[in-house]
């Protein structure tokens, strides 16, 4: 008998099969460019917005137009999820910023700075422009937190903390990873709140896609659980290595790396992939990272490294990249312009890629030819 989660996954697969581009495309029926532009810029009244949504939901032409426009929209949508989940904090902020309580603000700020300073003092690494130390890795070496942190209540607390953090990028990056994971042919992870964090950590332990915790406490816990997983599954221990310098951290967060690959067989060489064709390589198990240039604008979502110098990467728009010297990347031809979700490489010639809708294609000649794989 299938479980509820399996049926959810079935619905996802069914929708991939049944929700097809709408055939309707009568230009006269469609909103003009001004209305469409106002729609994506949020400049319509609620009534107009609803009417337009009803039209576009059934109109292939308008949907395709939005798809073209979506590539050129600024990534600055209102994070209504954060707004929803931060309501208690917002109220607190409103309360504390009342005129007669404003004196609390500098005192609270000073206290926070002091706590952060003393809490992280042993973990601060020397700054360098060239080398990016990983303080999360160092956090894993910090004294373990009490076991209570792993109880159901603790996990709930962690989820609340993650949800309440108004850092949109962390949430977005996590969701993108989740999205990429769901795109694979494997069933979706359990949706139960308490098990989700554990599932994510277990997934990281399998060397799959990582889920970055939103705050240091969460990071410590996730890393600790990951290290426990590592005892039973020694193959990998991907962690989000955050640079210590503010500039480097800012850059890394801005770029939202979405996948980390550990190279076989030594585990010391790793690659990290991100939006805009960004790639970083580490030769010391993720302690330091160095950017590697590519010319592709695609968002890279997954990679596979069969050796320390050979790595394949895939991304949106059918982008497949390969390096055979660990330094220079070459884009390989791929016959379909579809978003790719995963790649599994055997060596520098043989690899299988998986599209977002679950199809698999194999190359035996370093990308010169591809054939569907059943």
């Amino acid at each position: 008998m299938s479980t509820s989660q399996e049926r959810d996954a079935d619905v996802d697969r069914l929708l991939r099969a049944v929700v097809k581009p709408a055939p309707r495309s009568v230009p006269g029926d469609c909103p003009d460019a001004g209305l469409l532009a106002a729609f994506v810029e949020g400049g319509l009244t609620a009534t107009e917005q609803s009417a337009l949504e009803a039209h576009i939901a059934d109109c292939g032409r308008c949907q395709e137009t939005l798809a073209v426009l979506s590539h050129d929209l600024p990534d600055e949508a209102v994070d209504d999820a954060a707004v929803e989940t931060v309501v208690p904090e917002t109220r607190w902020f409103t309360w504390v910023t009342r005129p007669r309580l404003r004196w609390l603000v500098p005192i609270s700020a000073a206290a926070t700075v002091a706590v952060v300073f003393f809490a992280t003092r042993p973990l601060i690494a020397p700054e360098s422009d060239e080398v990016v130390p990983a303080d999360v890795v160092q956090m894993a070496q910090a004294p373990p937190t009490p076991p209570a942190a792993l109880t159901s209540a603790g996990v709930d607390t962690l989820r609340e903390k993650q949800a309440a953090v108004p850092e949109k990028r962390d949430a977005d990056a996590a969701i993108r990873r989740e999205d990429a994971a769901k795109s694979l042919a494997v069933p979706a992870p359990p949706a139960a709140p308490a098990s989700e964090v554990q599932a994510d950590v277990a997934q990281a332990g399998r060397g799959g896609l990582e889920k970055a915790p939103a705050d240091p406490a969460a990071g410590r816990m996730a890393v600790r659980v990951a290290s426990e997983e590592k005892r039973t599954q020694p193959a990998a221990e991907p962690m989000r290595a955050m640079p210590a310098t503010p500039q480097a951290r800012e850059e890394l967060l801005r770029l939202e790396p979405v996948a980390t690959v550990t190279a076989a067989p030594d585990g010391m060489v790793r690659w990290r992939f991100g939006p805009g064709g960004r790639i970083w390589r580490s030769t010391d198990a993720g302690s330091t990272w160095h950017g590697q240039p590519t010319d592709v604008p695609a968002d890279l979502v997954a990679g596979s490294a069969p050796s320390p110098t050979t790595c394949w990467a895939v991304g949106t728009g059918g982008v497949v990249l390969l390096t055979v010297d660990g330094q220079r990347w070459t884009q390989l031809p791929f016959p379909l312009r579809v978003d790719l979700a995963a790649v599994q490489a055997t060596n520098d010639r043989i690899a299988t890629v998986t599209t977002r809708d679950g199809r698999r294609f194999e190359t035996l000649d370093a990308g010169l030819t591809w054939s569907p794989k059943l």
């Binding site: 299938s2 994506v40 400049g43 978003d339």
Partner: protein, 288 residues
Amino acid sequence: MSTHAGDPLADLDSGLVERLARKAQAGRWGLDARDFAAALRRSAAHRFSGRQPSAAEVGQYLESLHLEDLALACACARGSEPAWEHFVREFRPIILRIASRGQQAGRARDVADSVYAELYGLDEREGARRSLFDYFHGRSSLAGWLKAVVAQRLVDQARAARRFEPLPEEEASPAGLPGAPALELDPDRERFLRLVRHAMAGALAGLDARDRLRLSLYYAQEMTLAAVGRVLGESEATSSRKLERTRGTLRAAVERRLRDVERLTDAQIHECFEHARTDPAFDVQEVR
């Protein structure tokens, strides 16, 4: 002077027009006040087409416009040289960039040039040049409008081209391909498939337009969650959460119909999902 007494669309308050012209910095382009007022009237008439708004509604609407962009577009349409210089410097790169997003990269320049020519106004009617700028009403930014204009052209070109292309091999039903595995013979299979089709079609039709739109953008247009969020003004996390919720709603609706209306058991419902998932020709649009 008013010629349509009491018509707020025809009789824009002169004080309001002056204030909006100042706000739009229309003087930068040497734009005549009457031309700017005409652009405002055109915009309001387009917005309130088919009904008679109050003066307050019109005023509120005009205040909400992208006035600087409207003044620039109006000045370009009237052939103002400094306006064109500014437009070419600031907006032409946007046209080229969005044109390059099309599926036919080689035609990007053609599309951009065609739009550019229409903006300049190659089309003459009754002795007057008709510029594409006249269709900009200031409801969005000028950049957003230009992107939408170019995007619609790209999509129309691509759709026209697709009509003449043979169906790609991948669109063909695997069941019909030589060598495809024969489907298992199950006496209930056809019935179960039909039931799921009906149930899923009903469930999809019962969704809100916005939820259906989100599903279409994600599944049919294969947009990423981030892109869906950008288009719908949501964060990526919210798009993901709402998609998840919609999937749950659909599943519940399908199961409810199969259980309560079709009187199927849990095991049969499971079989329904299994058949639908493994059937290569399953397509809910057959019953729409």
